[in-house]
Point group: C2
């Protein structure tokens, strides 16, 4: 299957990709310098600059905020922990609203410490997402549930397939209002035999973000060994074609956690590689 | 949910658990000495003793061979590679027949080197499993497809959920003859929101093996950091109750790849821990 290269104007930088060497100001200015039109900040980086200042700088540089990473982490061992998680999500919604972010990405959380009750954790995720959704709606912020790779089920997110995320969307937002959807990150879902079907089922109303990188063989670390597009085994053009066929017209956000490679490099070089690989491999 | 401890007579040792310190003879004699009634050899260990000699020793010690690990690895870049894989599966079937193994476990293989064609690899798996099934039937050996954790999709097995494995069974053995089924390894499937449903769908005809260990938090290595039952987050009694409800009456086979811990210990101590944890945590 030969697929035409993507529109370079749809490239977005997730700040995790250059998080070790640049602060948010440098990231925004770096994107502008390279002609990258989208940015998706993590909240640790946002905290350094402040949401209002960041929003102004991003606006002044003509960038689109393709997402804010992240809310979620709903399950907790007790009521106080769950309330604390909800409070944190409300702060994230405020920041997402100030930034005009296209979505707030939800990494929903795993098992509470000491728990083996996976079904219970998933109920907490449903309840927490539902409560957060009310507030997000009022603030005009869309929530994007990000199914995470099953290897993160215990400690990061117990929503692990696109189908599971979409079942949650059906339950909490049956009308597909656009207020609740999914973030499709190829790293987490590329292996799923139901992926194409899930993307089609989501449709444009629920496809809120598209994250790209690659799966390396071998992968030497569960967390921080993601690959640059083209260096691994994910058929990125094919997955993009499924997103497009389903009506997705949004950005392609590059999120690479790479302690042994890309985090060590000059971020300006990394941005250049990202732009080339986006054209050649995505 | 309080569940009664399992029958200690259903414990089985997968040889991977003590592979660094014992040869197959020592494993067989170790099981007999500890009163463990089942054993599941890997072929590397079998090669050291020979299938006939191993079969005699196992029989003389009154053990049941709960599985032979492993066949599979079907996808290959060319016809010659695929034929070579089939030939290897035929040898595995012969060994499984000599051992009287309850099943030959299939780790189906991942992407051929250099390939990103996951759908194509899955077709090779279907075709290879189908061809192998013909020969296994003649030899009276049941084949157990083992869905592997999605983190092994690229390099070990592109069958990654129980539902996917059962779809293959439906396609290749629609009558549920008992000749083709699945090996349910908790390490690979514990995260799956459709697990209970999949076990029920499989039923006793297709539930050919049950492998146990635990998922550690954190997990520090993708391959060799599995936990002893009770040391991780998997709700083993619950999953066992689903197996039982579906009609499974077979062994509970302990398969622990653990370079940093259990492989370093005295295998006699490891077997003692396994027996206790089987009673206390499974």
């Amino acid at each position: 299957m030969k697929i035409a290269p993507p529109d370079p104007g749809l490239l977005s930088l997730n700040t995790a990709t250059v998080r070790e060497r640049w602060n948010l100001r440098e990231m925004i200015e770096g994107c502008a310098r390279h002609g990258i039109r989208g940015i998706s900040p993590w909240r640790d980086k946002l905290a350094g600059l402040g949401a209002k200042e960041a929003a102004k700088l991003i606006r002044d540089n003509g960038l689109t905020v393709t997402g804010l990473c992240r809310g979620g982490m709903f399950p907790a061992a007790d009521r106080k922990g769950r309330q604390s998680a909800l409070d944190d999500n409300l702060r994230a919604i405020e920041d997402a609203a100030i930034l005009g972010a296209r979505c707030l990405v939800l990494v929903v959380g795993g098992l509470p410490a000491g728990s083996k009750d996976l079904a219970g954790a998933r109920e907490m995720v449903r309840d927490g997402t539902g409560e957060t959704l009310e507030r997000a709606r009022s603030a005009g912020v869309a929530l994007a549930i990000e199914p995470l790779h099953p290897m993160y089920c215990a400690d990061r997110a117990c929503v692990n397939t696109l189908a599971q995320a979409l079942d949650l969307c059906d339950e909490l937002d049956s009308g597909a209002s656009g207020d609740l959807g999914v973030a499709v990150d190829v790293y987490h879902v590329w292996w799923d035999p139901q992926l194409q079907q899930g993307i089609g089922r989501a449709g444009d109303k629920r496809l809120l973000a598209f994250h790209i990188c690659d799966w390396l063989v071998p992968t030497t670390d569960l967390l921080n060994d993601r690959g640059m597009m083209g260096d691994g085994v994910i058929d990125l053009p094919r997955i993009r074609s499924w997103m497009t066929a389903a009506g997705y017209r949004g950005f392609h956000e590059v999120e690479i956690f790479s302690a042994r490679n890309w985090w060590k490099r000059d971020p300006d070089d990394v941005l250049g590689v990202i732009q080339r690989r986006h054209q050649e491999c995505c």
